[in-house]
Subunit: 164 residues, 6 copies
């Protein structure tokens, strides 16, 4: 009981995601960081890689675990017996899409509850997309992602363990 | 006279679209629900399928008809002698793009008038994209689309007439 | 029949309002520009002055008339047998409040329909409030309001018929 | 433990507020609906009246209570040992101000956590301000507020227990 | 030449304002921080107090000065021979009003140019209004305003030089 | 000194872009209109074509030049010794993404300054994307782009020098 699901594509997990997971872990008994398997977008990292990066990035949070799900989030939430889904909100543009999703999910599963949390303001404008773009262009992503993710980005994008 | 065009990609038509068509039909003599042929996005349904689904979905509205158009909406509106184009507004993110389109269309055809209408609030956060996503993941779209569209979605996505 | 109500506080009517009234008058048989009597805000012009300014500003639109109403807009619309209420949309901030109002009005009167129209882009960022502020500070409001409104502003704010 | 504060001016409490309180009460052990004493705006109802209306409106939620606070919310949260503050989010315009408040509160009390919840979509566009405006104009607010609040509004605004 | 005007009500100046002034001073030869005399809102500090607080808060910026103006900003800009007006942008809600103002000012003075700059992200959600509210409720505003402003707030609101 | 970079994908440059470049050229000693080489989106025009179109479109601005860059904008800005990056702001949706980018760039290069400028209101709702769409559908883009761009669009999209 007291379990919440923090769902997303986490391609890859950033410091902003970790921050939200930590905040949720302080409020609820257990937090499942659940990586969506069937995302329309073509991800940079495979589902296995994304889950593994999440696992390492949240290893320091005792009551958090990594998982993955296919199909509807509403079904996954029911299967896990989760009380709520946690979503991070950073900016207005997030907000509208999240609203739409949250209402749709309520239609699909009446007991589905979404709660929104805000990352630390220094992560307010951080996104997986920008991090990938910066890494691809040879920029330093060290302030934005956990060390394990930085290494994975360098390896994936430049075939090396060091910034170019 | 008194003819308006309700234009969109309708891929597929949802209950929110039908609601807007009904509202327009109460205000104007004739409503043409016009499916855009050359949409940049790769549609799930062909233009013929989309028009046919629109036709069945609005069959109960006596002064509404389905049509399709290629080229510029501004030209189609002129050809049909329409007084205005109807667009549904659901949320802020809709609004800005619609504004941009409406102003562009006025530049292309000075007499082009856009009027915005709001669907019933229960459709406020409904979109063709989300409906397709839910259907693809095996979710039940019965509350969101007309029965004929639900069947078409199941057939197209799962090769069956029943929800998986 | 074919009557719509264009409601607002019109304190005072601007060129943007006149533009919306003209657009509505092209689409509908009759447009009533209805000045709200009991607005929470303290208006600069009395209700009589506002109606009179509206009347003169729309005198050139044959199928438009000025009127005033107290109480709920939903009741006024019912009394007049109007098919819809017209509202001008300029910007995102307008939009959300208008949405809220439109949904509330639908709750109060199920047949209440709101249609949104866009003024010419050159009036996009025009508001009665800014016009009053500029006039109060001695600025020239000639590009923003009909001549009769400009004279009324000068008289009301500076006790003169000429710009200071 | 497991206590959250749902803070606001509640002038008066609406069905949307009650809905958020119910949702929070399903997620947390205890919910305190806390009415802010020193709000800049001139409220319609006194602080005592607002608390009393909250108390009656949430009487059916076993793990919820009404309270009032002066001074900074950040201090009240600390005194009560609350884990988080709950805020209802309805629309984009809410969102930005709430964001600003939440970040400010974090600066004032580092452990201050804000979680945002969404009322049922049918309350999405409901606000205390609109309810008061409608009631003042003689409109029926029965769909928007608990019966006890409706009676209080009629009494306060029209000196009667019946709609005019 | 190379002079820009950073205009506002500065009631009072915050660390966010100082940050924008510093950024502008790095880009332009001279920055005038100009306090608007005739603001519709009832300010907490008199115009003399606001200018004096600005003067002390920007004393460390060699090419910046404090000034005050009445009447239209467009006229003041012309009188000073300024190349542009600088405005700080923090959030979406700022943005729309600023847009409206900037377009209006261009109508009043064709050569009027507005440039928008962003304060450091840690000031993104800082506003004079919130600072006053926090100070009035006995909160510590030390992270948000220069020391001289903090003292002035305590003196003005609590008649003391120390936080209550 | 006094050099700013106006960066973008310019696929193709529109009258709105030219307008912003002209405005920046009035404020700063030198403006580099820098076309981003490695944009995620598949551009219609090659990098060489885009730079050439920019060059011709800004040939009348004596203190402006066209350039191209690969890699991070933050690195390019450092290499050129630019004081700031100029971005055009048209609408709210622009704004949030621009904010995110500007903050990210500040993290990557602390001295990176972004200034936002507004094009003339008649270009407010103009975008390269809409221009390409209109041209592809056989619409007249003459009011939206410089003549050289119009010819390039016709040639690229219809293999002709005349509108179809």
């Amino acid at each position: 009981m007291g379990l919440v699901v923090y769902a997303g594509s986490f391609d890859p997990i950033t410091n902003g995601h970790v921050d939200v997971a930590e905040r949720a872990a302080r409020l609820f008994d257990r937090v499942v960081v659940a990586v969506a398997r069937n995302d329309g977008k073509r991800p940079l990292f495979t589902i296995e890689e994304r889950v593994e990066l999440v696992r390492e990035a949240i290893a320091h949070i005792p009551n958090a675990e990594a998982d993955t799900f296919g199909g509807l989030l509403a079904d996954y939430v029911r299967r896990r017996g989760a009380q709520a889904v946690v979503r991070g909100l950073r900016a207005v543009s997030d907000f509208e899409f999240e609203f739409q999703l949250a209402l749709m999910n309520r239609k699909l599963n009446e007991s589905f509850e979404t709660i929104f949390m805000m990352p630390n303001e220094s992560y307010t404008f951080l996104s997986s997309r920008l991090v990938k773009e910066i890494a691809a262009l040879g920029g330093e992503v060290e302030p934005f992602v956990p060390p394990v993710v930085r290494r994975a980005l360098l390896h994936k994008l430049h075939g090396t363990c060091h910034a170019p």
